[in-house]
C-alpha cells in the first residue's frame, strides 16, 4: 500500500500527459472538423473498430516512430540539434509534476500528498520549467542553421520573454491572495466561499489576474492565437522546419504536454483544482454515501444519453465497420459493473481508509474532468481566433498585459493590507 500510494502520482502524471497525447490529437482534429462542418478523421480502424477515430492518432504516431531519421547535411552541431526536442519535451513534462491531483490523504498515520513531486514550492517550480520549455525551441531553431528556423526561434523567445513577465506578475497577485506558493494549499483555499455564497475560485476573486494568466498561459504553450513561432504562412514551420520523423514528433508531443501543463495549472490556480464548488474534502469524507447515491443515478443517465447519441450518429456504412453493437454491449457492461461496485460501497460500512481512498479517486476524477474541459477550451480557441501578427503579440504583451498586471498586484496588495486579510 505504501509503495502504491507513493507511485500513484507518478502514474497519474504519466497518464495525464503522455497517455493523453493521442487523445488530445484526436480531440484537436475532431473538434476542428466539427467546428468547420466536416467530420474529421473517421476511417482508420483495427478490425473494424475505430474508437471514434482515436486509432488515427495511434497510426500517426506509429508512422512518426518508423520514419527514416534524417539529419540535414548543413547541421554542424548534432548534439544541440538532437537535444532540443528532448529539452522541450522534458521541460513540459516536469512542469506537470507538482500539480496536486487530490487532497493530502492520511493512511495508517502517514500523510501522502498526491503530487509527483511532494514539494511546497509549486509555483516557483512551474515558473522555472515553463520558462525552460522555450529553450528547447530556441536551441532547435539555432542548431537547425536555417533562416526560417532561426526566425521562428527568435519569435518564440521574444514572445516568451514578454509574456513571462506578465504571467509572473499575475501569479504574484494570486499568491498574495492565497497567501501561499504551495499549489495544494491554494486549492484548499479555493474550497472556501467568498461573500458567503460564491465559491472562492481564483477566477472569481481575481478576475483580472485570471484573464491575464489565461492569455499568457496560451502564449506560453505557443498555441494559436500566439503561434507566430511556427507561422506556416511566412516561415514554413518555424523552429521545427528542419526536423523530421520522431524528432519532430517529440516537439509535437511537447506542445500537447505543455498544453496539459498549462491547463492543469489553470485548473489548480483558477478553477478550484480537484474541488467541487462549495464542497471541501472534509464534506466529501463525511457524506460519501450521498455522493455515491448521486453517482448511482448520474452514471446510467450519462450512459443512456451517450448510447442514444451513438446510435443516432455512429452510422458510417463503410465496409467492415460494424462497431456500434459491440460498443453498446461494452458500455452497458461497464455501467452495470460500476453500479454494482458503487452499490457494494454503499451497502457495506466503509472504514476510514477506504472512505479516504474513495474521496481521493473522486477528486482525481473531478480534476481530470476539469482538465479535459480546459483541453476543449484550448482547442476551441485555437480553431476560433486568428493568429496574432508578431508585432501585435508583443504589443499586447508589453503595452497592455504588463501594465494591467502591475496595477493588479498593487491593488491586490493595497486591499490585503487595508482590510488586514
Amino acid at each position: 500500500m505504501h509503495e502504491l500510494m507513493l507511485l500513484l502520482p507518478f502514474v497519474l502524471t504519466l497518464l495525464l500527459t503522455l497517455a493523453t497525447v493521442p487523445i488530445l490529437v484526436w480531440m484537436e482534429r475532431r473538434i476542428a472538423g466539427l467546428i468547420q462542418h466536416r467530420p474529421g478523421p473517421n476511417r482508420c480502424n483495427i478490425g473494424g473498430f475505430r474508437l471514434a477515430g482515436i486509432i488515427q492518432s495511434v497510426a500517426d504516431m506509429m508512422k512518426l516512430v518508423f520514419k527514416e531519421e534524417r539529419l540535414p547535411k548543413h547541421i554542424t552541431n548534432h548534439l544541440y540539434f538532437l537535444m532540443a526536442p528532448g529539452l522541450a519535451f522534458v521541460a513540459a513534462f516536469l512542469s506537470f509534476m507538482v500539480i496536486p491531483f487530490a487532497d493530502d490523504i492520511t493512511i495508517s498515520s502517514y500523510t501522502y500528498s498526491i503530487q509527483a513531486l511532494p514539494v511546497d514550492l509549486g509555483i516557483l517550480w512551474i515558473l522555472a520549467f515553463a520558462g525552460l520549455g522555450v529553450y528547447g525551441i530556441i536551441l532547435g531553431g539555432w542548431a537547425s542553421h536555417s533562416k526560417y528556423a532561426i526566425l521562428g526561434a527568435m519569435r518564440a523567445s521574444a514572445q516568451v520573454i514578454s509574456y513571462e513577465v506578465a504571467m509572473g506578475l499575475s501569479i504574484v497577485s494570486m499568491v498574495l491572495t492565497y497567501g501561499s506558493i504551495d499549489l495544494n494549499s491554494m486549492v484548499v483555499f479555493q474550497s472556501q466561499t467568498f461573500l458567503g455564497f460564491i465559491p472562492a475560485w481564483g477566477i472569481v476573486i481575481q478576475p483580472l489576474a485570471a484573464i491575464i494568466f489565461i492569455v499568457t498561459a496560451f502564449a506560453e504553450t505557443n498555441r494559436a492565437p500566439f503561434d507566430a513561432a511556427e507561422g506556416e504562412s511566412e516561415i514554413v514551420a518555424g523552429y521545427h522546419t528542419e526536423y523530421g520523423a520522431m524528432k519532430f514528433g517529440l516537439f509535437f508531443v511537447a506542445e500537447y504536454i505543455a498544453m496539459a501543463a498549462s491547463g492543469a495549472l489553470i485548473v489548480t490556480m483558477l478553477l478550484g483544482g480537484y474541488q467541487l464548488p462549495w464542497i471541501g474534502t472534509q464534506d466529501l469524507i463525511n457524506h460519501l454515501d450521498v455522493v455515491i447515491m448521486i453517482l448511482l443515478v448520474v452514471i446510467p443517465l450519462f450512459s443512456v444519453i451517450f448510447l442514444r447519441w451513438m446510435h443516432k450518429n455512429n452510422t458510417l456504412d463503410a465496409s467492415g465497420i460494424r462497431e456500434t453493437k459491440v460498443y453498446t454491449k461494452i458500455i452497458i457492461a461497464k455501467t452495470v459493473l460500476f453500479e454494482l461496485f458503487l452499490l457494494y460501497g454503499l451497502l457495506t460500512p466503509l472504514d476510514v481508509t477506504s472512505t479516504a481512498v474513495g474521496v481521493m479517486v473522486l477528486q482525481i476524477g473531478i480534476f481530470t474532468a476539469k482538465l479535459f474541459m480546459l483541453h476543449f477550451i484550448f482547442v476551441w480557441v485555437r480553431w476560433t481566433v486568428l493568429r496574432f501578427r508578431y508585432d501585435q503579440t508583443l504589443d499586447l504583451g508589453w503595452n497592455i498585459l504588463l501594465p494591467l498586471s502591475i496595477a493588479n498586484v498593487i491593488v491586490t496588495a493595497i486591499v490585503i493590507v487595508a482590510f488586514n486579510l
Binding site: L34, H37, R38, T315, A318, W380, T384, V385
Partner: protein, 191 residues
C-alpha cells in the same frame, strides 16, 4: 456625391478590449460544434467511396475517349492537331493510310499518357473532327503500374460517353449533308 464614409472600427474601448469579439467568435464556433455533433449525418461532407458524387456535369473533363463514325470506324484522321495543342505533350500519334476509302488517313497508334496529362481539354478544342472528347464522366483513375496509365487506341475507343451523343458529331453532320445533297440531286434529275 456617391461617397459613403465607412465607419472605422477598432478605436473604441470595446474594440480595443479584443475579448468581446473573441467571445463572439467562440460563440459562433461552439454553435457550429454543437449542431454538428448532434447530427453528424447532416454534415455536407460526402463519405466518398460509399457515396459517389452526383454533381458531375456534362462539361466535366474526365478521362478522354475516341469517338467513332456512324459506320463504327474510328473518326480520327490523324491530323496531329491534338498532339500539337497538348501543353503536356502526352499524346503520341502514328498515322497510316486508310485503305477503306472512307477517309485518307487514320491513326495506327494513338496513345495518351494519363499520368502526364493535365486534363486541360485543349485536345478536345483542337480536334477538327470531334474525334476526341472528355465526356466519359470518369473522375477516378486507378491502375497498378505506370504502364497501365498509358491508354492506347483500342482502350480509348472502348470508353463510352456518359452524356449521349455517342458518335462523332462532325461525321454524322457530314453524312446527313451528303445524303441530303444526294436526294436533292436525284430529285432534280428525275424532273
Amino acid at each position: 456625391m456617391g461617397t459613403t464614409i465607412v465607419k472605422r472600427h477598432g478605436s473604441s474601448f470595446k474594440d480595443k478590449m479584443y475579448l468581446s469579439a473573441i467571445f463572439g467568435g467562440m460563440k459562433t464556433t461552439l454553435k457550429n460544434f454543437t449542431t454538428n455533433i448532434n447530427n453528424i449525418d447532416a454534415l455536407p461532407t460526402q463519405c466518398y467511396p460509399e457515396q459517389l458524387p452526383q454533381d458531375i456535369t456534362s462539361r466535366y473533363r474526365g478521362v478522354h475517349r475516341l469517338t467513332s463514325r456512324d459506320d463504327g470506324s474510328i473518326a480520327c484522321v490523324a491530323c496531329y492537331m491534338c498532339a500539337t495543342a497538348c501543353p503536356a505533350g502526352c499524346i503520341n500519334i502514328l498515322a497510316e493510310d486508310r485503305e477503306d476509302g472512307v477517309d485518307e488517313k487514320m491513326p495506327k497508334v494513338f496513345n495518351i499518357d494519363l499520368l502526364e496529362c493535365v486534363f486541360c481539354g485543349y485536345c478536345v478544342e483542337a480536334c477538327p473532327c470531334d474525334a476526341i472528347r472528355m465526356d466519359s464522366g470518369i473522375f477516378s483513375l486507378i491502375a497498378q503500374s505506370r504502364e497501365e496509365f498509358v491508354y492506347d487506341k483500342e482502350k480509348l475507343l472502348s470508353i463510352k460517353g456518359a452524356y449521349g451523343n455517342e458518335n462523332s458529331v462532325k461525321d454524322s453532320f457530314q453524312n446527313r449533308e451528303n445524303s441530303k445533297n444526294k436526294t436533292n440531286s436525284g430529285e432534280t434529275h428525275e424532273h
